[in-house]
């Protein structure tokens, strides 16, 4: 009963936001937060459901961002098409990288994805004729304006871009929800809880893991594309390992293996430093502590914890708590 109401309230708040908080800067932050929510929602599929830590999400975001930017800049592809194609390009990259990598488990997989991210980063930095190197790529166009009757909606305007990203986020959540509530989602949870068991039960685990990995990556790529056309400028820096860690933090903080947790986590990682107005360095130290403390004391993350505190039966597909295993 309570969930549809809550959902409606959140949706209404999101729609009203740019008209209530009109300061450009806060709309800017909200756009960034939603971009990160898309990344975190994707990361959650591989990390929260399948139980595999991928430290390549930042890199995949970069692939999406650069492919969309370069398609529209150099190949003259319409921006709408470029943004729509970017997740598929990223998915292809993830498929190629993931197919051999998912033969290994646990730490090996994490280290391998870390290496993947570093390779992507090094290529972005060094493939200067294409990417522009560390100095980045400038002048990335916003999506072409849409005309509805006489009304022209320009995405150079921040408010309009806000609604674009909001719609993208809604689409993302539809996809993720569909995936985790399907048979695939149940198999992924089985893999997380005991892969050997699942394997023994005749499940071709690698197919499901690969699927989860590719979905995660392509959502990161989607977010990257949205980011590129919003900023109009990209450089390799936001696609480094640090930002993959940020995605992992968002998932862990909010509640891994829940639908809402990663969104809350991502919003917090964007909003906290602004609210606290603290120096970057303290922020990162606090992030570090947050990771350690949450893993030790709230292994299920903030959202399930608060839900428990509220004593409500939120029927979220949620991770088994660590201590019960």
């Amino acid at each position: 009963m309570i969930r549809p109401v809550l959902l409606a309230v959140v949706a209404a708040a999101a729609l009203a936001f740019p008209h209530v908080v009109t300061a450009n800067y806060f709309i800017h932050l909200a756009v960034l937060a939603m971009v990160w929510m898309i990344v975190a929602a994707g990361t959650n599929v591989i990390q929260g459901y399948a139980g595999y830590v991928s430290i390549a999400q930042g890199g995949f975001m970069g692939i999406g961002a650069y492919s969309s930017a370069l398609l529209s800049l150099d190949a003259g592809v319409p921006v709408w098409l470029a943004i729509s194609v970017a997740p598929f390009i990223t998915a292809l990259a993830a498929l190629i990288a993931g197919y051999p990598s998912l033969r290994v488990r646990g730490h090996y997989f994490a280290i391998l994805t870390l290496a993947m991210n570093m390779v992507i980063y090094i290529v972005l930095v060094n493939w200067i004729p294409v990417t522009g190197g560390e100095a980045g790529t400038t002048g990335i166009p916003a999506p072409e304006p849409i005309s509805i009757g006489t009304l022209e909606i320009s995405f150079e305007r921040r408010v309009n871009y806000y609604y674009l990203v909001l719609a993208a986020l809604a689409l993302t959540m539809l996809i993720v929800t569909a995936v985790v509530r399907s048979r695939v989602g149940r198999v992924l949870e089985a893999i997380r809880q005991n892969e050997t068991f699942a394997e023994a039960a005749g499940v071709a685990c690698w197919k499901y893991k690969l699927f989860a990995f590719v979905i995660s990556a392509s959502l990161a790529g989607f977010a990257g594309a949205l980011y590129a056309h919003y900023m109009s400028f990209i450089s390799p820096a936001p696609f480094s390992v640090d930002h993959s860690l940020n995605a992992i933090l968002a998932v862990i903080l909010g509640g891994s293996g829940t639908l809402t947790g990663p969104l809350v986590g991502a919003a917090l990682t964007v909003a906290l430093p602004e609210v606290l107005r603290i120096a970057e360095i303290f922020r990162l130290i606090i992030y570090g502590f947050a990771l350690v403390v949450v893993v030790i004391f709230l292994p299920r993350g903030l959202v399930p914890w608060i839900a428990d505190l509220a004593g409500r039966d939120w029927k979220l597909p949620r991770a088994q708590s660590a201590e019960s295993r």
Binding site: H107, A115, M118, L291, V292, V295, A322, E323
Partner: protein
């Protein structure tokens, strides 16, 4: 031309000996506890900074300062094990992994806070350069090789000959049996963290003497360490030694003959290749041998 090859080989070995030290610390932790201790590079950097400030503050030489810093590093290692990893020892591995990421952030940024953002260079005073044929052998690089070699030998003796070393190997090979022998696994964990952090500090000092310690250096170092680990086999001490030198030399040659821009990529390709073809690494997997 031969001189240039030898020069590159020598340079590669010097870098490789540092990679070896980093990888040794990572490998014994992984062998015993199954933890990918990502914060290791930041601990190494902490050691480098600490050594630098000890040299300035106490007016002592680089080796005594390094010894003190290694003791400090050992202590830090014990604290990390107790406070952060111990509470999640029975949880799924993903938890310890995320703890490791959190610790990396904490230590890395605390270094910034404590020691500032400027790059620092550990002063050694080893400025002489020996020349044999056309081969230039800077005194500093020779000392780095020797220091790394001495630490590797000391570690090998410790692990092979002492009771504690035996206990470490026993826990790595058969944890339950080790407990039945009366080995305190928690004490071994702490010992391993102390030992590996001290080694990491030594590596940090060498990096700081040869190049510089600065924000961002640790990330590269720890990733190279893991590349070595995977090359040599997770948990293998001889693997770390051989893998470190192989990586150092191949990187130098790649940089000279293929592309200095993509030398790191080459290292990763090597690592990914090994993982896929021979996941146990080029040496056998074990802390034992």
């Amino acid at each position: 031309m031969l001189v240039d090859l030898l020069q590159q080989l020598f340079n590669g070995l010097v870098i490789g000996s540092i990679y070896t030290l980093v990888a040794l610390g990572l490998t014994i932790i992984f062998g015993i506890l199954g933890i990918a201790h990502f914060a290791h590079g930041s601990v190494a950097m902490f050691g480098g900074y600490l050594t630098y400030f000890l040299i300035l503050a106490l007016g002592i030489g680089v080796f005594p300062a390094m010894a003190l810093a290694m003791a400090g590093g050992a202590l830090l290692g014990v604290v990390l094990e107790r406070v952060a990893y111990y509470p999640v020892r029975n949880a799924p591995p993903i938890n310890s992994f995320i703890i490791a990421l959190g610790l990396t952030l904490i230590i890395e940024k605390s270094n910034l806070l404590l020691f500032g953002v400027d790059q620092i260079i550990v002063p050694t005073g080893f400025n002489r350069i020996f020349t044999i044929g056309g081969l230039a052998l800077p005194e500093l690089r020779i000392y780095i090789l020797l220091t790394a070699a001495a630490l590797v030998v000391a570690l090998t003796i410790l692990i092979q000959k002492s009771w504690m070393g035996m206990a470490v190997r026993a826990v790595a090979q058969n944890r339950a049996a080790a407990i039945l022998m009366g080995i305190n696994v928690h004490a071994v964990s702490m010992f391993v963290f102390a030992l590996s952090s001290a080694l990491g500090v030594a590596a940090g000092v060498l990096v700081g003497a040869l190049f510089a310690i600065a924000p961002g250096v640790s990330g590269g170092l720890v990733v190279k360490g893991f590349a070595v680990l995977i090359l040599g086999g997770l948990g293998s001490i001889p693997g770390a030694i051989v893998g470190g030198l192989v990586l150092g030399v191949s990187e130098t040659f790649a940089s000279a003959f293929v592309s200095s821009a993509y030398k790191d990529v080459i290292a990763f390709l090597l690592m990914i290749g090994v993982l896929l073809v021979k996941p146990e690494g080029i040496m056998r997997r074990s802390v034992a041998r």
